[in-house]
């Protein structure tokens, strides 16, 4: 994992780092990653607190011609040496709240209508901005009145002889059950029943980036145990979030040290699974004849790191009536909880500006992307609605 000696110092990573472009305080991937690691191995006192600016977008790793795990190195260093840099006081409370997607979601959804209203009130926003450091420009994703899992329990999945498992993630469960519902609809229409995992926890990505790696590791172990059970039953575990998928497949072993090689191939995005089944003829879907949609596809950073954008893109291209343009891959700037923090808001919007401009000039009806935090950022910054490719597909098929 720590292959710093492979670095040839070519600086191509520096060239593509979105943070480097907008923030002179960030030393850049080469210095923060392999160069800094050399020093940190000598003496942990060399740890540079500016590493907190790393978005963990992995664009450096995608650009690296020598396959150096630059982003992993930075993440690991933050976990190993940076824990004492965790924010204290109110900012610490904020980071804890932003990171605890599962717990906060469970607490908020019973009171969803009230919570949603309150979080939109100007005075509440300025208090959160001033005291907690949650930027007032941000709107929290709305909590759903009914959790996805509660909806799912009422769905009869008994009439099928083939099954897949679904890892819904926090966003689908607490905020946006529609995406999960759409996937269940598609899978059922294709002749597959859906199971949920025996136990599902947040994948832990927000915990890792806010300095709670130990908790992330605990949750990861719970998820992997359930994923193993699904694998034993011969069921692939499908997901609808590129970041959850990337975290469970690659960050678990590379950053948290959780061994997952036995089930890694079993975790995949629903778009990839569907593409493969449809193109091999195993699944036949009936498409609506009157369906028309002008879509641009935004490749989320983690999607690109996995290299799976092709599956989502080709799946969209299979849908009759879809006019698709693939945008240049640029970071949207939000990077999960990073962009919610007051001190990062400016960087976040500056980084995303290229993408927003690109979207505006394409003037689509919808933007399609596989990442929920990209969705919040793009909707807030361009006003153009964003859909997961699964939602586009669900709308295009005849049921």
């Amino acid at each position: 994992m720590n292959n710093l000696e492979q670095c040839l110092k070519c600086n191509l990573c520096t060239l593509v780092c979105p943070m480097m472009e907008v923030n002179p305080d960030y030393p850049g991937p080469k210095k923060a990653g392999p160069d800094g690691e050399r020093y940190r191995l000598k003496d942990p006192a060399f740890f540079d607190y500016a590493l907190k600016y790393c978005l963990n977008c992995k664009r450096c790793e995608v650009a690296c011609p020598s396959d150096v795990h630059i982003g992993d190195m930075i993440q690991a260093a933050r976990i190993k040496y940076g824990s004492q840099a965790k924010a204290k006081g109110l900012r610490g409370l904020r980071d804890w709240t932003l990171a605890s997607t599962d717990l906060v979601g469970s607490l908020a959804s019973p009171f969803a209508p009230v919570v949603n209203e309150v979080l939109q009130l100007k005075p509440v926003k300025s208090v959160m901005d001033g005291m907690l450091g949650v930027d007032k420009h941000r709107t929290f994703p709305k909590y759903s009145k009914q959790k996805f899992v509660n909806w799912f329990r009422k769905q009869d999945q008994s009439g099928f002889d083939r099954f897949v498992s679904y890892f819904h993630g926090c966003y689908v469960n607490y905020n946006y059950p529609k995406l999960g519902q759409d996937l269940v609809k598609i899978l059922n229409a294709a002749g597959y029943g859906v199971h949920l995992l025996e136990k599902e926890k947040c994948c832990g990505v927000a915990l890792m980036s806010n300095g709670f790696a130990a908790r992330a590791k605990k949750q990861g172990a719970v998820n992997l145990a359930s994923i193993r059970k699904a694998a034993e039953a011969g069921e692939p575990v499908l997901t609808t979030s590129s970041t959850c998928t990337f975290t469970m497949r690659d960050e678990y072993p590379d950053v948290l040290g959780l061994q997952n090689s036995d089930v890694r191939d079993n975790i995949m995005l629903a778009t990839k699974w569907l593409y493969e089944k449809i193109s091999s003829g195993e699944i036949k879907l009936k498409f609506r004849k009157d369906f028309r949609m002008k879509v641009v596809y935004h490749t989320a950073c983690h999607m690109q790191k996995m290299g799976w954008q092709l599956y989502s893109i080709e799946l969209l291209r299979m849908i009759p009536g879809v006019t698709l343009t693939v945008l240049d891959q640029n970071c949207c700037g939000i990077s999960g909880t990073f962009g919610f923090k007051k001190e990062n808001y400016g960087f976040s919007q500056k980084i995303g500006s290229k993408l927003f401009e690109d979207i505006r000039t394409s003037n689509p009806e919808y933007v399609a992307t596989d990442c929920e935090t990209c969705k919040w950022q793009i909707e807030m910054s361009t006003g153009i609605p964003v859909l997961n490719p699964i939602e586009v597909l669900a709308e295009a098929i005849e049921l």
Binding site: L15, V16, P65, S66, G307, L310, I313
Partner: protein, 172 residues
């Protein structure tokens, strides 16, 4: 997944090969592991690849061609690191560059081309790989894959009919 042409390498040579093909309406896939050093010349590092993508080319950024399957003197498919399934095309272009971009790999005695195992022209005497004068043109920079008069790559002495080498990877 099927394409008309698969181009391995998204640097200067790969993009130059791709542009007329994409313009002619061919379905092109570009496997671009890492960014090419030639990217520093452009306003934005991914400029050429991004344009090709907008015109309909499929660009696999950060993916690496691992192996190519050759049957009866023809490439039938390649495998990449990120994709589970093989990528298939009528024509293949090898544009992976030399040592920096790992189009050519080496140890102390050998130099080889990792995707297809193409024939590589190099001096078997390792002492002749380098000129001790640092500023002199280095002999190892002339090593590269063997091609026939039409630029088709030789593997085991035989030209592969649907595999063309372009750019730095060629032997001078």
């Amino acid at each position: 997944m099927r394409f008309d042409v698969i181009i391995i390498g998204g640097g200067w040579a790969g993009c130059t090969a791709a542009e007329p093909l994409v313009e002619a309406g061919k379905k092109v896939c570009i496997v671009s592991e890492g960014l090419s050093l030639s990217a520093v010349k452009y306003e934005s590092p991914y400029a050429r690849l991004a344009t090709l993508q907008k015109q309909g080319a499929v660009v696999l950024r950060g993916d690496r061609a691992i192996s190519g399957k050759i049957e009866d003197g023809k490439v039938v498919e390649i495998r990449t690191r990120n994709m589970d399934e093989p990528l298939v095309a009528d024509e293949y272009v090898l544009a992976t560059g030399k040592f920096f971009s790992r189009g050519l790999l080496s140890d102390k005695e050998h130099i080889w081309e990792p995707v297809f195992g193409a024939d590589v022209v190099y001096d078997p005497d390792r002492t002749k790989w380098f000129d001790p004068d640092f500023e002199a043109p280095q002999p190892f920079m002339k090593f590269g894959v063997k091609t026939d008069a039409e630029g088709r790559v030789l593997v085991g002495g035989k030209a592969i009919v649907n595999l063309t080498a372009v750019g730095d990877i060629c032997n001078e």
